[in-house]
Symmetry: D2
Subunit: 343 residues, 4 copies
């Protein structure tokens, strides 16, 4: 077999998305070679490792230190992301980290510094950049096909809120809308958010609002090129996972995403209908594979990844401003210092 | 008020489509002035005339001879069309004639000859040419956007077959598909049908098949430029009036028509749905008005109409070949003599 | 001719939209009888009156007092709307008033009081309610098909900003987005806006920003049922008039509007394309006719109009809150007193 | 690892589609275990075997006889299909055979007999049955959602005709449209073709017509339940691979396939546009994987495959009737004896 050697990867975090990524690495991507998986919950690590026929362990640091492993995929709980990025970087390993890379700007800055110091590649799991319909839309924007962006929209509507009591506070901003914030930053390339206003509520599961749940949110963002963007999320889309983007500019508009998953249409006396229900892995499965493939390619070629630490920080900055906006009931003006750092 | 004087029109045939056209002429088009209506059934003429506030009479020839009237709209039963075209032409009146203009090639030739001899304008009611989506599609073909046509499709699916016992034999070819034959001839401009094969049946109301009903048909047409076309009809579209066209060529494809009538879409756990039910006047109301407006403009300006007697004859020729194909069970090769005449 | 007598209407304001409405009343609607038109600019009144063959005058009050006239259509400059509503009501005439009905809440309250005192019908020109795709979408919401509304969106993108220097301040809120505010109020029936945040800018014609121009705006509205809505506008849609609505709820979503105007599609090596360019009267022509037809029907039947003074006030309240939000840079909390009045 | 053991497969034919299937079996499907590949051209076998890390050989019979192998995938030239099916069946191996399974009815009957005698599973490569949009459409038909089928359409437009001189005679019927014939038979379940009429030509590469090339065809098929179907093919779709199906019945219509491959849309002053260009493996890659996965599942579970020898024969019967129709210029009535066999 010709071509570059597969990238030898260790994965930390054997939950739902970790299992999905591990399976993609082991089964679907010839450019990746999953060596081992780790999870503090032994049963999770064992189940995943055995099902894929790879080593499994409970100690993340041991996996990071494994000399066979050249890249670490971090897919565990978000609160541990930044420290693991730092640990992996210090061990000289390339890093793929699920979003959010960090929970605070300070954490983000430390992670970015560690990665820069170590000179290792870092890619953050903003999968929407690797969805073909979004990528083609963004190419159109970059090529000037719609002129200067003036109005943008990105939305995420997730079909399920299985256990509202278990959702950590501010999840809708730091975990869900952070995808949309990155998508908007990416569509409006080269511009920075300067004002953020968020309205949010618990409309899906109002009985959990007192406990801090927010399941519905609209965020308005003003960028320093004048463009105004809206990001919108909700945790209960009856018709299936719905992810869309729209960029309107001086010369036109581009849209990506369509909330149906098949081209089948049924026409009867009741009208026309099409199937819609789908999960995130159905909608974005190819994007999940594409982001990992791109990571492997960057690692092997020594080229920059397509979405790095500053991108993670810029999206996080907006998420944190949303929290502040909800707490104060007003618009948050992003400080210069923050913006400087976000360059 | 400036602009040209309205065209003073008399209309013959106060049935469903006659009533529709008369109302359009009287109420919607400032370029037309409906002077009188005629129908051998006195009650029909009276009802329509009084409702629109115009003269009404039972004698078609008297209407034709009325010196106030400069143009005749023929919207009565098809079997009377050709003779009325001839009578109107002989009286020096411009003629708008619903399709089919004639029931036989001989009739068609006599009508064409009378119109030519009198030097009056003649327009045939192939409304699809005046539907904007079809016209834009045909413009794309004419502009060479799809290259040389190779495969064409036109279909008519009518939602209702209210009284199958009252449908005259061969109606599906001479009354319904004749629209599709003209659309195909028009899309494949400059080419002539050389082979026709028809398969037809009574599938909607099979109990009327013995009486000659055909309610479902597929017609294949080979043109002398090599292109192969399919025309398709059925009398019972549960989801509403469905009229579509498709032209595929060496450089691409163009489509017109969509079997939904609103842009509303509903997305629920059952999937996506859109309303569809509609009648022919809902689907084609603007085209009906546009064809009468174009007729008035041609009459007033002295310019040729956009669809004349030879077009009517060419479509009829295909309809007659369909009848022959059904009767013989084989493909009909259109004779040179017929084709010559159809130039 | 049977059926009710046409409603005898006088129209005030012979500009672009006045001319359009007058033509619809005179030419297209059998249920209306345009008696006279008035405009302080004599040439405008004369041109329109003569082209339609109706009386014309310069004195609006004289038209209001004309005993032949039973209903007044107000289509002049917005600043004169409220006083003319009051004058017409005092003369006992039914009133159709273009949006906005008033420029201040005080004006609105005076107009509403005058209409109530006189007991005359009043309809405001929120045409989107009469667009079939929007009406079907709203029917779906009313029927509970999407459950409880949680997120709403309404947008207006106008293709042309011919003369940016002539646009009065705050036009984007009081003239353009007021349509969207009404559409959102109507979709979210029975709920009232309680918070309003607006971000706006002059991105199309930035050189006019100093003069007060705003040509791009995003407005976020929180309703008292928890739903959060976004209204968005821009004055320079390269691809044609774009008006859309979307309501997302606990059981699904409904959408209305599609930024293409024909069903034609062209498929070539460059991909698929469809025509889009269109004007407001192309997009909404049927809705303009439908709202006037509904007004005539309500006048003749003595039934309530479908959109009255309180609807105009509720939309205006949001527009005024937008102005305040732009001026203060923060979110505006609609006061109880305002909301009381808006019931 | 739990679950059934992977099916150990040997593949014969290392050309384009063989390479694609082999890669799917080796890399994508955990339920398959590709053991070896064979091709009479040593370089082809070696290249594919080495790239996938599996054994390779030139002797198909040796691969069939390999005791490690329990199932044979036949992906070589069509003329060898039937004999390899027979050889594999005689060796007691399960068989996946690309379409067409045979070139003559006699061949088909011998292959079917061998498979029945050996009692081995046989699946034919009609991938469209495994495309999700087609499968959902067919489910709707089976569930009676469109009533009784009356009109059907299936089309294949292939973007490329790289080497017209190398296309064997009748390829458009036996290799391309055979997919459509099977799709139509499958949509119109339980009915048999009784009349076939074909019109075909060399319109893409007319200079090869004398050598027997046909690159454009329209086939009309009458079924014994009265339904009339149209199958259509062309070898030069400028806009990319286009595969669509439509079934119209007494209660509605269902459609599958859309000639665009992304949900991205671009809206500018030139109108709306979307990307289209795509290959067969792009359009049908998931269906290719799904058919092999279903084959493995049937082999492991001992359940019938979803598309077997009689299905292959029924589609071939129509393809052969097309050849006869082109040769005679008329409609071919399928003989009772043929139909009996096709039960």
């Amino acid at each position: 077999m010709t071509g570059p050697q597969p990238v030898r990867i260790g994965l930390i975090g054997c939950g739902r998305i970790g299992t999905y990524h591990a399976t993609t690495l082991a089964r679907r991507l010839t450019e990746a070679d999953l060596v081992a998986v780790a999870d503090p919950i032994e049963a999770s690590a064992q189940r995943l490792g055995e099902s894929l026929g790879v080593d499994w362990l409970t100690d993340a640091q041991a996996l990071i230190d494994d000399p066979r492993i050249e890249a670490i995929a971090i897919t565990c709980a978000s609160t541990a992301h930044a420290e693991l990025v730092i640990a992996a970087a210090r061990a000289g390993k390339a890093v793929f980290c699920e979003k959010p890379m960090a929970m605070t700007l300070a954490e983000a800055d430390r992670a970015i510094a560690a990665v820069e110091e170590a000179g290792v590649p870092l890619q953050v799991g903003f999968n929407r950049r690797f969805a073909r319909d979004f990528a083609v839309a963004r190419d159109a924007v970059s090529a000037g096909r719609i002129g200067t962006p003036q109005l943008l929209r990105s939305l995420t509507r997730d079909p399920g809120l299985a256990n509202p009591g278990a959702v950590p506070p501010w999840t809708i901003f730091t975990q869900t809308l952070i995808h949309d914030f990155d998508a908007l930053n990416w569509f409006n390339t080269g511009s920075r958010a300067v004002e953020v206003n968020a309205m949010a509520d618990a409309l899906v599961a109002p009985e959990y609002k007192a406990g801090g749940l927010l399941d519905t949110a609209v965020v308005t963002i003003r960028y320093d090129n004048g463009a105004i963007a809206v990001a919108e999320a909700n945790f209960s889309a009856a018709y299936g996972y719905d992810v869309r983007g729209e960029v309107f500019g001086s010369a036109g508009m581009v849209q990506a995403g369509r909330p149906a998953h098949l081209t089948t249409s049924l026409w009867t006396a009741e009208g026309m209908s099409s199937p819609t229900a789908r999960t995130d892995t159905e909608l974005l499965g190819d994007a999940y594979a594409a982001e990992l493939s791109a990571f492997c390619a960057a690692v092997r070629a020594g080229t920059p990844t397509l979405v790095g630490g500053q991108d993670a920080r810029a999206a996080l900055r907006i998420a944190l401003a949303c929290i502040e906006s909800v707490q104060t009931g007003g618009t948050v003006f992003v400080r210069d210092a923050d913006r400087e750092a976000a360059v």
